[in-house]
């Protein structure tokens, strides 16, 4: 059984490359039972979304300034 540290490391990697089937399975089984790692998974996806929006936000703010 992998620890939360290992699972979150895999979740993080999964955002930047394609994971193997066994890695994805390990994540899936773990987050079924572990709400904190499930939260980490959702939240790191949310952070990605926020980061993408951030540059738009920045542009808008800079537009207003000038």
């Amino acid at each position: 059984m992998r620890s939360c540290r290992d699972i979150t490391a895999l979740v993080s990697q999964g955002l930047d490359k394609k994971l193997s089937v066994s890695e994805r399975l390990a994540i899936g089984l773990h987050v079924m039972m572990c709400s904190r790692c499930r939260n980490f998974q959702n939240q790191s996806q949310f952070i990605r979304k926020a980061a993408h929006r951030y540059t738009e936000q920045l542009q808008n703010r800079l537009d207003k300034k000038s």
């Binding site: 490359k17 980490f40 952070i47 000038s66």
Partner: protein, 207 residues
């Protein structure tokens, strides 16, 4: 036919091919110059320079890496002209391994969470609030410089993992560790400064 062949030969890099990379280049420039117009100019100059010297493109490192290399020069030129050396390219400050040992505070020695993520209430709604973006920016700026650079190149500029490694000289293994830490830190910061805060606010309102 002859004409188009003649036009193709000197520049194997067509405008369309170069223009594909415009958004990534623009975000890269914007994050450093913090000015829409300056960023746009730098990208324009970069694409023009690339187009003029496309014969120099060797294709080894990938087109985007080559373009970013040119863009970096344009940005450096800008700082030189405006003599604001202090601000010089946030991205190019290489620090000496600060913040290396702190990740373990997130987990106990057996790898279980120490504290750890609670459930966030309606994160989508946060994206629509101006105050959220101020908090987001603070959290992002609180990352150690090198970690911030790696995170921003990946998530804000939109480079692929291997491109980020090339840009920063990070090994594969270090890249994964750095991104893992960056996400743990950002998550915690947003939770403390925004999601838990808004929870207490709401509770106070109800009281």
């Amino acid at each position: 036919m002859l004409l188009s062949a003649a036009m193709d030969t000197p520049n194997q890099l067509g405008e369309a091919l170069l223009a594909e990379h415009r958004p990534v280049l623009f975000r890269y420039a914007l994050l450093q110059l913090k000015d829409n117009e300056l960023a746009d100019d730098a990208v324009q100059e970069t694409l023009l320079a690339a187009w003029q010297s496309s014969a120099n493109f060797e294709g080894k490192a990938g087109l985007r890496t080559w373009l970013i290399g040119i863009l970096k020069h344009k940005i450096a030129d800008h700082w030189r002209r405006s003599a604001r050396e202090v601000v010089t390219a946030e991205f190019d400050q290489i620090d000496n391994g600060e913040g290396e040992a702190d990740e373990d505070a997130f987990f106990m020695s057996n790898g279980h969470w120490n504290g750890g993520p609670s459930t966030w209430n309606d994160p989508e709604a946060a994206l629509k609030q101006q105050e959220f973006w101020a908090i987001y920016e603070t959290c992002q700026n609180n990352l150690p410089p090198k970690m911030a650079k790696v995170f921003m190149l990946r998530e804000l500029v939109g480079l692929e993992a291997e491109e980020v490694c090339r840009e920063t000289g990070l090994s594969d293994a270090n890249y994964w560790v750095t991104m893992h830490r960056a996400r743990l830190r950002l998550r915690e910061c947003l939770e403390i400064r925004w999601f838990n805060q808004s929870k207490t606010k709401k509770e106070n309102n109800h009281a």
